[in-house]
Symmetry: C2
Subunit: 324 residues, 2 copies
């Protein structure tokens, strides 16, 4: 696999890569619980299986991809550590994954990132580098750190190892609930959505593959409609984990696998976040709540179906919840 | 089994009753997940397995006992419904269990009960009766409702069917983690503690049986020290689910099974509640947090042990958390 300086990948990952990742993650990542709610099922007219990745190490599914990347490095590369740019969960996940192998981690953090998330990245032992809050500044600073340290860049969502790691969520869900006919995940940069799509198409070709996206950051929806990647959407959404533009390999996979995107408003997301608290007793971050928001906003898509729903992260400040 | 008007039971329940309850609850109660945390393990120097009964139907383990009671009634008794007195979780659990069999439920609620809990009892379809906030007033009003309706009294914790139902938590925990050497639950009226003690002594005689109790409602600790039930403690604690006085059959079982009680202060409880949020991402009610508070307050008891820890309930108002 060859990774260019922009984190673009020459070869797309495959189902075999996801299976290899699953073996690598055994005993390192958590097999997260699946929760159900009769009330939410009745409201949706569907059977919903909520995969609790907010209870994953680092509080998000991101640990899977980061851990797969860290533990797939050969000794020589590993010794020089890993670097990424992230405003949140991927940075924390990579820091924790690097620590699990005793490697140095360098995380470029844009100004304006959620303080609790930055503190968690530091607490996990990573070195923090600040930069301006633009994609260009993030990539330039990460490239500088790569040059200075010789560390390996682990892009948050275009890296093949990351995509393969995230796909293990779908493997676990399908193993636990083989009767699923629908899989629903949030889409931001598309690491999780692409990894899960590879699994769905690979082992359950009749599985409907759906992704939930904030209407204020709907580049994946627009891109799939247009048939080409649209990268100039300026995100405006409460879902801080989904502001990234869908990556090029991610878009290619979503398109090839026939993933359909459902958009939701921020108001729908906050209502869903509160409903997840009331009915599942789980506090998730806004990005996570997009999935239930999509089920509520597009009931005709889900009626009568058996749906695997991924709750992606729970890194919120309990003292400053965005729903009142 | 004969139940007097005070809810006293002539014959104590047995392990066989717990097994019967487990069969009755299959498909009705949830098999709740067990969560783990490396951070909490490291802090305790122990392996902690948190049984998430706050994710049980009705948000508390109470559903197990209530469901066992409701579904063990013969048709003639069932038709006349069930009645109890409760300021919270048992009332909600009984209302929900009765609804699951299509039976009327009557719940006597003392003035001053948490509003959210009372609303949940009503939402589950029960008829509410108000009374003064004393044990005598609760029992008198419940007796009046029994006379008026012919409904069966299901006492919150002295009822044999309730004790047997609560014991199924320990059965599930030991089935999932057979290597447990310690079991820790909160104690209030003692339904859960007694049911779990029956299971522990019955199938894992070397299991250390521990109960956590608020220092401001330490009647169980005092009673076991004195060797006789002390019922005149005036409770003063943030743990609204643990203010009841340990029941007579409950005390007999705790004493016979060698249960040891560890007391904790309200400040320790609130700190543990916050820690459970930070490390397990679970919001539990104060009564639930007594168990982690006990582990932190009495580290020498737990060092090196493999501990089953029951998180009993999660019915808190997210907008009014008692930790800041």
């Amino acid at each position: 696999m060859s990774v260019s300086s922009e984190g673009r990948i020459a070869n797309l990952p495959t189902l075999a890569d996801v299976r290899t990742a699953a073996a690598r993650l055994a005993g390192r990542a958590r097999v997260t619980p699946i929760l159900r709610s009769e009330v939410l099922d009745a409201a949706a007219g569907a059977r919903l299986h909520f995969k609790c990745e907010h209870l994953q190490h680092s509080g998000a599914f991101k640990f899977r991809g980061a851990c797969n990347a860290v533990w797939s490095l050969d000794e020589a590369h590993a010794a020089r550590g890993v670097v990424t740019h992230s405003s949140g969960n991927h940075g924390q996940a990579l820091a924790l994954a690097a620590a699990s192998r005793g490697l140095p981690a360098h995380v470029v953090v844009p100004e304006g990132a959620v303080r609790a998330k930055v503190e968690a990245i530091e607490a996990a032992g990573a070195r923090i580098y600040r930069c301006a809050p633009t994609q260009a500044a993030r990539e330039a600073e990460a490239a500088r750190v790569v040059d200075a340290t010789g560390a390996t860049l682990v892009h948050p969502y275009t890296d093949s190892r990351v995509i393969a790691g995230q796909g293990t969520v779908a493997l676990e869900l399908l193993q636990a609930v083989p009767s699923l006919d629908t899989l629903l995940v949030p889409v931001g940069g598309g690491g999780l959505a692409a990894g899960c799509a590879l699994v769905g198409r690979g082992i359950a070709p009749n599985l409907a593959l759906l992704a939930a996206e904030p209407a204020g950051a709907d580049d994946a929806a627009r891109s799939l409609r247009a048939g080409r990647r649209i990268a100039d959407v300026v995100p405006e959404t409460v879902c801080d984990g989904l502001r990234a533009t869908v990556g090029a390999p991610n878009f290619d996979i979503l398109k090839a696998c026939g993933v359909a995107v459902l958009t939701v408003t921020d108001a729908q997301v906050l209502a869903a976040m509160r409903l997840l608290w009331r009915e599942l007793r789980q506090v998730v971050e806004p990005s996570s709540a997009t999935v239930l928001a999509a089920i509520q906003a597009h009931p005709e898509v889900f009626a009568g179906r058996e749906v695997g729903v991924v709750l992606t992260g729970g890194n919120v400040d309990l003292d400053a919840l965005p729903f009142g």
